[in-house]
């Protein structure tokens, strides 16, 4: 190296052996600790409330689960048995497909841009640098898989031994899926084929769902008889298997998974820096949205990434002028991502499946939420307008007028969707309530302003927060439930029509708030 007077010249003698990842991380920890402005106890004081809340929620949730498990086990209809028999065939492929898709969208092994530049671009062992992120993915997948199957099988009224077996097997399956995604992350072509496989699994999940949706409730006498036989055979099988089976399953899974996870860990150096950073950026965006409890922003981050990756599409000319032009542009924009429409229509299976199981009272709620999930992604245009005063100015219209225009195409889709769900809902006014709830709820959520930290703030264990922060996740769902309330409460058709109509009228008459 040169003296301090002249420019720095590279001197190889200054550089020796490349340090280990562990020593580098230890250096970073030590350096960061010097900057810490809070002691351990101060941090603990802030997080104990969160830990306490989680413990309380866990205990309450566990208790509720036990109650639901007991009441589900008492269900003696053939519909219940159909549900119990077919749900695993829907749930497991759905879980694996979702795991594959979600993990590949975030990496699954990811790192921040800063880590990508300052650590991954150096000669330090990349496998060792990425190993903590990899283990975190495996742990999260295992916990999510075990918890999901624990909840699902409990709700099905299964025996506790069966529930634990299902949890172990599902968690193991999802860990395998996670390993596959790490392997797929290493090459673009592998990612492509893994995503196609995930789509196939979704189709596989749809088959039993459709079968369930098209079932009719059989005669009551036959129901009782069939159910007794099924319950008896299940009890016998459990008695013969005993806890040994759970132990064997657990051990086999452990051995297979350990081998797979370790072999996959050794391939981490094959991951490119770009693929690792891309997931890190997405996670950072999602974390930002989650910290403001803004569900719409979570969807924005995912949609933004989709379009960034797409990069280029064919331009299509518009038609008409002013309002008509905007409606036409919205139509073309929605067609630009046809997958969303396909998923939207596929969600029609939900109300039919619920109706098929005989839980008639739940059909409007299921239809409402499924329709909301189908329609809300189509309102990205409205969301962009509502979040950009510059865009509103450029379009030269009032925001209220824009909100109506931007909601026309998604609104028509919601109406069509609800009409297609009519046979499951089996009631005209209820169908109107569902459609109105979907439109008003989705419009309300899409036109929500971001939480503002510029106004008055409320003190909380997590620091100062805007007053409306905690109501943010409910935004949109509140109007959906309001529209469905007369149906759920069994009010007359007049109320079932009047309340949603009133909600819709108010929704589009009021001018959205702007900053």
């Amino acid at each position: 190296m040169s003296s301090a007077d002249g420019p720095v010249v590279f001197d190889p003698a200054d550089f020796g052996a490349i340090p280990s990842s562990r020593s580098l991380r230890a250096w970073m920890r030590k350096t960061r600790r010097r900057h810490a402005d809070r002691s351990f106890w101060q941090v603990f004081e802030n997080i104990y409330l969160v830990v306490f809340t989680l413990a309380m929620a866990g205990a309450t949730g566990g208790n509720v689960l036990r109650q639901l498990n007991a009441s589900s086990a008492r269900c003696t209809s053939i519909s219940c048995q159909d549900f119990v028999n077919y749900l695993p065939w829907i749930l497991v492929p759905l879980l694996v497909a979702t795991t594959l898709r979600v993990l590949l969208s975030v990496g699954p092994v990811s790192a921040s841009r800063a880590a990508g530049f300052w650590l991954l671009a150096t000669p330090v062992n990349r496998t060792a640098l990425l190993r903590p992120a990899y283990w975190l993915v495996i742990a999260v997948v295992a916990v999510v898989g075990a918890l999901t199957s624990l909840i699902a099988w409990s709700l099905l009224g299964s025996q506790w031994r069966s529930i634990w077996e299902a949890s172990v097997l599902t968690a193991s399956l999802l860990i395998c899926a996670a390993c596959v995604t790490v392997w797929a992350q290493q090459r673009a072509v592998r990612t492509k084929w893994t995503l196609r496989f995930a789509d196939l699994l979704l189709l596989a999940a749809a088959i039993p769902a459709i079968w369930l949706a098209t079932q009719r409730e059989p005669e009551p006498d036959a129901t009782q008889f069939a159910n007794v036989v099924i319950n008896q055979s299940e009890a016998d099988s459990l008695l013969t298997s005993g806890p040994t089976r759970l132990l064997v399953i657990g051990l086999v899974c452990l051995v297979v998974l350990l081998a797979l996870v370790i072999v996959t860990a050794r391939t981490l150096d094959q991951l490119t820096r770009t693929s690792v950073i891309a997931g890190g950026e997405l996670l950072a965006g999602l974390a930002g949205a989650a910290s403001s409890l803004d569900i719409s922003m979570l969807a924005d981050v995912v949609a933004g990434r989709h379009w960034r990756l797409k990069g280029r599409v064919h331009s299509r000319r518009g038609r008409g002028s002013r309002g008509a032009a905007l409606v036409h542009r919205e139509f073309l924009r929605i067609l630009r991502w046809p997958r969303r429409l396909v998923i939207g229509f596929a969600l029609l299976v939900v109300p039919y499946a619920v109706a098929g199981t005989g839980f008639d009272v739940l059909v409007p709620v299921a239809a409402g939420f499924a329709g909301f999930i189908a329609v809300r992604p189509l309102m990205d245009g409205l969301r962009s307008v509502c979040r950009s005063t510059g865009l509103v100015r450029a379009l030269g219209m009032d925001l209220r007028e824009l909100r109506v225009l931007m909601a026309v195409v998604p609104g028509l889709f919601a109406a069509l969707w609800s009409l297609l769900a009519l046979p499951a809902l089996a009631d005209g006014p209820a169908t109107f309530a569902v459609a109105a709830g979907i439109i008003s709820g989705a419009v309300r959520q899409a036109s929500a302003r971001p939480p503002s930290y510029a106004g008055p703030l409320v003190a909380s264990p997590m620091g100062a927060i805007p007053p409306g922060l905690f109501s943010q996740p409910m935004r949109g769902f509140d109007l959906l439930l309001l529209c469905l309330a007369p149906v759920l409460l069994g009010l007359s058709s007049t109320w079932v029509l009047a309340i949603p109509a009133f909600v819709l009228a108010i929704m589009f008459a009021v001018r959205p708030k702007t900053d």
Partner: protein
């Protein structure tokens, strides 16, 4: 090229596409040790894409890129050791100071006691006064200088820089120009994209002009 030396970087028939649209076609050049090549051209011509292909941030559709005769792969330790890059993918740890960032990079490259090197470099780039500042409190020009320093605090055989003059003041561009000439003298090869004719004129031994493809 003014001197005949063995090529450090060889790019042959490089091709890259965004979707179906080609942005680079049939690009071929070689860069020897101690030489500099400037990539010039209008916005959208593919300058940054070429640099990304070379450092492994983008996959070429076709063509060969060799570093010291071997195919370049960003995952290889030798490439990470020898190629210093400055593209638009730089970000900072929010809780590490300017000095600590450089310290970290030097250590990661095998310098266990880089304090003197870091201090000298901070002085050289005019950031000694900002050594203890966190990245969030640095101006965009200071962040750019810090980014440039990252290429100089570590061993390098090849420097890949994307518009290194961006956001630098007049004095900064002059410093950069002098600095790159010093690098060439010490045997480092430089491949850079630039919109600054004076910098290109002063530093580059060859110029590769890219034009947007239809």
């Amino acid at each position: 090229m003014s001197k005949k030396t063995a090529p450090r970087l060889t790019v042959t028939e490089l091709q890259h596409k965004y979707g179906d649209r080609p942005v680079i076609e049939g690009l071929t050049f070689t860069l020897a040790a101690g030489q500099a090549i400037a990539l010039v051209g209008p916005n959208g011509a593919g300058k940054t894409t070429v640099l990304k292909c070379i450092v492994g941030s983008a996959d070429p559709a076709a063509g060969k890129i060799l570093l010291d005769g071997l195919p370049i792969d960003e995952r290889a330790e030798a490439v990470r050791r020898d190629v210093a890059t400055l593209l638009d993918d730089l970000d900072f740890f929010p809780d590490l100071t300017a000095a600590e960032h450089l310290d970290l990079l030097a250590r990661a490259h095998g310098n266990p006691e880089p304090e003197d090197l870091v201090d000298t470099l901070l002085d050289d780039i005019g950031l000694l006064g900002a050594a203890d500042q966190l990245p969030g409190s640095l101006s965009s020009g200071q962040r750019r200088r810090l980014a440039l320093a990252t290429a100089l605090v570590r061993p390098r055989k090849l420097l890949v820089l994307d518009e290194p003059e961006a956001r630098l003041d007049t004095g900064g561009v002059q410093w950069l120009s002098d600095r790159l000439l010093e690098e060439k003298k010490s045997g480092t090869s430089i491949l850079f994209a630039s919109h600054d004719p004076a910098l290109v004129e002063t530093v580059a031994d060859s110029i590769v002009t890219l034009t947007p493809l239809p």
